[in-house]
Symmetry: C2
Subunit: 580 residues, 2 copies
């Protein structure tokens, strides 16, 4: 049972479920469902899926996450960036004839899910740390711009899409004549949704409505737009006037089935599945963390991997496509008072009802309405001021961000995120191999030793002291060897090098062997090698090796003792001098 | 001119070249050439190349390295591990019919060379740090075992080879009857070479020979073995007795030609070329460093990349295969007194003469002699005591080493080195994302704050202090968020968290945003967030951002000040108390 609770948090919160919790969860579920239905339809269009796939993405995956996820309020389902990544991954597979789009997307979800679960079981959640914030933020901004630009065509009535900015521009500039009716509907809904998002709640509250009610009404604006435009479409026969409509949507619930797998398909989709898994996880975990902290709760990153993995496997088995936790809907869920993951399950129920009874009405819905929903939703992803903020704070971070944005816009989402990850990992490797270190000298009249380039300190031509501020391990031993080699080669009269280790918490075997090499090389060059301020646990480890017996110099408790003994510094007590 | 000197060290040492230097270089060159000729022939057999390719590998590549390399004494040429890696990379390409072995090996050298030069120009030498010592040492030990086992068949007269240990064993156990004559020659040469290596020099010196002369004679043992066995082979017609001979070797110098490239060939060889480049570089740079230090010289890792790259490009253009700096031959070169890279060029000249005049005699040489040469040479690579040494010092390092050995023996060199690199990089990522940190408390009666798990210290239920011992950046922000989240969730009465930053040398934008998130989340949970002991340069950067104005708490100069103000510690002066 304890084991079961470890993997399925439901056994934790389920035991204390009360009627009050139920009421709160039901209300939150209703509000989230109202928000999810239009978004689900819209993102399905963005992903190149049939509309029902967007609804299916918010049924079984939500229940799977409720069972396995660690956040109490995260609302999963289809989101904009993952939908775009799905479209971009599925297109070449369909073009090669490996599978149809629906099968490919389901396999993609299944693979992403399996990868997430595997990472969770192997406790590899930390791998997600290797997307730096500038890379993620640049990627999301660029994706938002790409998505918005891609939907412009739907609003103008010339058809949307395009996986890179040049492709979108080429497509728009080469498109046929605009459809005026589509444009009127598209721009009208766009303005309406924008007002509803930014102003409606304030207007309603000033008109005397309660905050909660005003919020619900404002959230319902996209649903309202759908009903009104369906009504218009049916009465004015917009389809006959050249307006692109959603078309027949089958009513009913998704069937459970393993999508058709083949080795070629799995191989072709594997890189995209991995990227979707990582991007989805990074986004989701940050939302879940922020919301959990508000109630002093915790989320476990490894449990989150399993929860999201389960949700994606459920998506793959039920005709949907990759899902993750969405920011806006989770906040809505939280604000509406959701108490437990059961709220997610109730949302799933509401959306299942919509799939059963709303679906037939959607045939007459103009695609431009969905495009407007998407544009309004993704514009909140675009954070251009972040560029200025990052530029002000750090040039290298800005370079990583700008590179990610440019590659994403120019070459598409996969290239963009891979460039970002590649840059980040290269940065990790570079940074890990360049530890902070400083040649130090004595602050006059004290026993303190500081960086010679930053302070007025006393140095000694015969003794050189180098402080390293990080643990020594294989990634930075090359740097240390280089550094000491350079110091030894540039100082002709040198007789002693003291390595000051106050911040060295660990010396791995590579570093140990490296120190041995340094010791031998310095001996060959007639220089003795000493250590100072070695921490207790590190010293204990060194005693397990031959290093100390081979060391040409000594290990000093303090740097000052080293300088007194080796450099015959003024101000050292006779005791220290005698010890020589 | 300065630019030229930067890329071609020859303009540095060439200007001070004297007649004495020339003499020293010539003597060293002769000794190294005597050593290189049998090794070149033997390693070519190991690599699956015709014997002349082994000689060619020690002609033009040596001259190219002399022009571009930064070590004054490194002797490049074919080495055992790289030869095995070449054999393993070339075999599948030949089986697929993409190219013949000689072309494939030349392309491999060309590609490795181009990659090395590119890494040098981009200053990516630090990437080689990511092969940890246990991985490299495990890989070399396993390769040595594989090579020795593979040559056993040649000694027994049943044909050698096999790229994994199971393959070698299967081959040996399924082989036909042994050839007794081959076995006698093989074992005889093996014992002779072993005695020559371990005893001969001592015997000669005891018999009154000078050290240098005794060394030269001992080094010449393999050449002697070759001449004697060729003589035996011709007089006793060993070929007719079923002894496998080297066969016709064309006399002459290598022609310069670009090997036939095709996209398919380049793609198929790219991963192997990269691995060969990295392994070759890591080995070579460590040899070069050790020898340079003996004369207080320096080698530049990025210049080494260019030197080795040039050597490999030369190998690719002159019908040879990938080369790198060899340990034994470089030590011999150094001991024999080589002063400048010109010694390498003279060695090349001597080997060119051998290729012109010695080649026709090699046809009658039994392969078993070359196999014995290889076995004696590679046994010095096998370092099994290192396993015990590493085990004693560190279990994770041992695990990495053992895994590399097992994968290399079981699945071949490419799988082995990739497993090793993968493990190493995963370890870098893991380590970079788990910075050293400690909850600290006050050492009674002092202003010092130490780790609560290691020292008897005073803590405060309202104020919690966490010290991080590394710079904050994107790789470890997830850890910090987790840690603080856990501390906040487990301490119900907590009102303040102080992050103590005495070892934080840098805060990148990801960490800055993370600190902002932590601050907001703690605020939501009713906890104020403070910093203490922030270094000057870090503080200056923070002032460029909005973080300080959003911070719910304060920035304290010292941890003690923080505790006095927030925790109303006993022993704090009234001034500090008043400041509240």
């Amino acid at each position: 049972m304890r084991n079961l609770r470890r993997w399925m948090p439901i056994f934790d919160w389920g035991r204390s479920y009360t009627r009050a919790t139920l009421g709160a969860d039901l209300l939150a579920a209703l509000i989230v469902a109202i928000m999810l239905i239009p978004q689900g339809l819209a993102y399905a269009m963005l992903a190149g899926m049939p509309p029902e796939a967007g609804l299916y993405a918010s049924i079984l995956p939500l229940i799977a996450y409720a069972l396995f996820g660690s956040s109490r309020v995260l609302a999963v389902g289809s989101v904009a960036v993952i939908s775009l990544m799905t479209a971009s991954a599925v297109a070449p597979v369909v073009a090669q004839g490996l599978a149809d789009a629906v099968t490919a997307a389901a396999v993609l979800a299944l693979m992403s899910g399996a990868m997430l679960v595997a990472m969770g079981v192997l406790r590899l959640g930390f791998v997600a740390n290797f997307l730096s914030h500038p890379v993620i933020s640049g990627f999301i901004t660029a994706s938002g711009l790409l998505i918005a630009a891609g939907q412009l065509g739907h609003i103008l009535g010339v058809g949307g899409g395009g996986s890179t900015l040049p492709a979108v521009v080429t497509r728009l500039s080469g498109a046929g004549p605009l459809n005026a009716v589509t444009m009127m509907i598209g721009l009208g809904v766009l303005v309406f949704l924008w007002l509803a998002r930014s102003r409606l709640k304030g207007w309603l509250m000033r008109a005397g409505a309660g905050g909660l009610m005003a919020g619900i009404i404002a959230r319902a604006a996209p649903v309202l737009a759908i009903f009104v435009t369906i009504g218009l479409s049916l009465t004015l026969d917009l389809g006959g006037k050249g307006v692109a409509l959603v078309g027949q949507v089958p009513a009913g619930l998704p069937g459970l089935a393993l999508p058709g797998l083949s080795l070629a398909l799995v191989t072709a989709l594997a890189p995209a599945a991995f990227l979707i898994a990582v991007v989805g996880f990074v986004e989701s975990v940050s939302v879940a963390r922020t919301l959990a902290a508000k109630r002093r709760e915790r989320i476990g990153p490894d449990q989150e991997l399993i929860g999201l993995g389960a949700a994606n496997i459920a998506a793959g088995l039920s005709g949907a496509y990759p899902v993750t936790g969405g920011f806006a809907r989770s906040v809505v869920n939280f604000d509406a008072g959701a108490q437990t993951p059961a709220a997610g399950a109730f949302t799933a129920l509401a959306i299942a009802l919509a799939a059963l009874f709303l679906a037939p009405m959607l045939a007459a819905l103009p695609q431009a309405v969905l495009a407007a929903t998407i544009i309004i939703a993704v514009l909140s992803l675009v954070d251009l001021p972040a560029l200025a903020r990052v530029w002000r704070y750090s040039r290298p971070d800005f370079a990583a961000m700008a590179a990610t944005i440019l590659v994403t816009l120019g070459f598409g989402v996969e290239a963009g995120i891979m460039a970002g990850v590649g840059l980040s990992i290269l940065l990790v490797l570079w940074r890990a191999s360049h530890p902070h270190s400083a040649v130090v000298g004595q602050v006059p009249g004290t026993e303190h030793y500081r960086n010679v380039t930053r302070h007025q300190v006393i140095t000694n031509p015969v003794v050189l002291s180098l402080r390293v501020d990080e643990s020594l391990w294989f990634a930075n031993t090359g740097f240390l060897e280089d550094r000491i080699e350079a110091l030894a080669a540039c100082s002709p009269g040198l007789k002693h090098i003291v390595l000051m280790c106050p911040a060295v918490n660990e010396i791995d075997i590579s570093a140990l062997e490296s120190l041995g090499d340094i010791n031998r090389r310095l001996m060959d060059a007639g220089i003795r090698f000493h250590l100072s301020e070695v921490k207790g646990p590190v010293m204990d480890r060194l005693k397990c090796s031959d290093f100390l017996s081979e060391l040409s110099g000594e290990v000093f408790l303090s740097q000052h003792e080293a300088m007194c003994r080796l450099g015959q510094l003024p101000g050292c007590g006779p005791a220290a001098g005698d010890a020589l």
